[in-house]
Subunit: 360 residues, 2 copies
Amino acid sequence: MLRKVKAAQYGCGKMSVYLMRYLLEKGADIVAAFDVNPAVIGKDIGEIIGGGKTLGVVVSDARDAERILAERKPDVCVIATLSTMADVGEAFTACARNGVNAIATAEEAIFPWNSSPAITAELDALAKQHGCTLAGSGYPDMYWGVLVDTLAGSLHKLTRIVGSSSYNVEDYGIALARAHGAGLTLAEFAEQLGCNNDLGSRDIAQKITTGEVAPSYMWNQNGWLCARLGLTAVSQVQKCLPMTHATDLHSSTLGMTIKAGCATGMSAVVVTETAEGITLETQCIGKVYAPDEFDRNEWCFEGEPDVTITVDRPATVELTCATLVNRIPALIDAAPGYISTDKLPNNVYLVRSMESYVKG
Amino acid sequence: MLRKVKAAQYGCGKMSVYLMRYLLEKGADIVAAFDVNPAVIGKDIGEIIGGGKTLGVVVSDARDAERILAERKPDVCVIATLSTMADVGEAFTACARNGVNAIATAEEAIFPWNSSPAITAELDALAKQHGCTLAGSGYPDMYWGVLVDTLAGSLHKLTRIVGSSSYNVEDYGIALARAHGAGLTLAEFAEQLGCNNDLGSRDIAQKITTGEVAPSYMWNQNGWLCARLGLTAVSQVQKCLPMTHATDLHSSTLGMTIKAGCATGMSAVVVTETAEGITLETQCIGKVYAPDEFDRNEWCFEGEPDVTITVDRPATVELTCATLVNRIPALIDAAPGYISTDKLPNNVYLVRSMESYVKG
Ligand SMILES: NC(=O)c1ccc[n+]([C@@H]2O[C@H](COP(=O)([O-])OP(=O)(O)OC[C@H]3O[C@@H](n4cnc5c(N)ncnc54)[C@H](OP(=O)(O)O)[C@@H]3O)[C@@H](O)[C@H]2O)c1
């Protein structure tokens, strides 16, 4: 592409501070930004990014998104509002109707086919109709997805993949904290999040696709991994367990102190059995960290040989935003539809300005 | 491809035990095997692989390789003899003359363009003439190459990549042990391997391409990384430092005891500066291990954000052989020529039989 990539930012919270700076530093023009928060609407995006520069683009009310997208015709819209497909459906729809490629940080968006098939099929059809591509990306895209698929390529035999990843709920917004049960008593946690731990594969899948039970991140991730590795899932179950801490912990995201013994967050474990005899057992731990805790990501491959890879203290927020932004050239070039990133070429480090990677 | 992949094994030493089993277990037929060692020639490959089965394929004298390759027309020949392009040139030539795709464990073969450009260009022309593909693979292909390139795709800004990898000289043949100076006194090491540590970029590059100085593995690896990441090297230097141990260590590969304070092996550090402002600083440590030492592989990415990834106790031998075997379908499908793996799609885990991945 000979001119700069034109981007829009949909959702101007914590992630957008990085996303917008990364977009600009990789040579994109930001032509529009949207939010629903009256405290943010009307602000210059330079004020949100920080660094004291006014950039001449003001955050618009998300209610005007369709009109503004139609006028300014960005090449891509980055969606960073909330976590589920139901949450981001409206933003995706506004983009798709205007033929604008869009990529969301919503965790479910990485592989929504196994949790929100109806919404995803609808968006897929809309995107095809208007000739644009929709997808989700973020930290899991690389560190629970591409990295895992890549390393599998060095094994002779694979029988089990065991993954575990933890992140601090404090680094993200309120939606993520709530989804992890942070701040609940153990009784509340058991009632709200633990109540489906004994469901079998068919029942939990049904309750997830009808929206009665929330998919944990690994529910979608195991779908992504099966699709990418060419595996056929024959069963998949999920268990949500509360995490606790021995002393009180303050959460600034929740604006409250979590009492010792109450849920600081959740460990969600998803186990997938496949027709090919490979088991995926993946766990994500999201909680309000104590001062001495940090992010960690470890994957063990069992087979011939065994391999263990560890990412210590990954900067989850920056990696989320960089992984997503690095996806943009391939997203713009991809076939129309909801194309989850298992179907896209791996993201690459952008040595040059973003537009030079866009073919179309 | 509808029929099984036909493979030949060239060099039937330590690596071939894994390579041949992996080939068979991934659904290839082994139709020929070659060696120069009279103790190996005439053996059934089943005897070499172990497990008590005779497989009906006998190791031939490598002097007959051309004739036998012409007769049996394998789809691929796996070369595991020695480490340099000069060493494996004859095997590559025998394959290329007969239009047989070939892939070597020779460490230099991963990216021979920056150390043996003349031999490589000759092989490239021969392979093009006869319509086959030549390449090198092994542990470095994934763990110093594809893995590093992949993770770079999650960074916003990259200023330096610092890699370090260690392996036990005892796991490999005599050629590798010698190339690492294992068993030398420090004076011998300084004279034979350390004598070029102060050469500048231009001088060392010249001495390496004329064969006066041996490239360390990372010399070739940094070439691979630059090619894959789209970086232009403006300077590259290498330093070879002896490793020692406080007590005597027995080496079964060398058939000798290495005295305390003598060289157990070598640490080779290669530093590449690029036009894009990204520095590669990579180190490989190959030595005779003390009982409490083990393989390790660590890569640090400096930039935004910093990322460190660790592979603890990688099973280097198995990973070498599996990475190479998993490359075969893409090798068969690749364009003719010497196509180093930076130009090939990433290797994938073979869920199904090898031939089902071959398009052509
Ligand atoms: N890239 C990687 O990741 C990686 C990893 C491991 C090993 N390697 C390399 O792979 C090579 C093989 O390793 P290895 O442990 O299997 O060595 P090895 O046990 O010494 O086996 C090599 C075999 O090839 C034979 N041979 C030598 N020159 C030959 C020639 N010109 N034609 C036919 N056969 C020949 C040898 O015979 P003689 O015994 O008579 O010499 C021996 O039987 C080494 O160079 C090693 O450094 C690379």
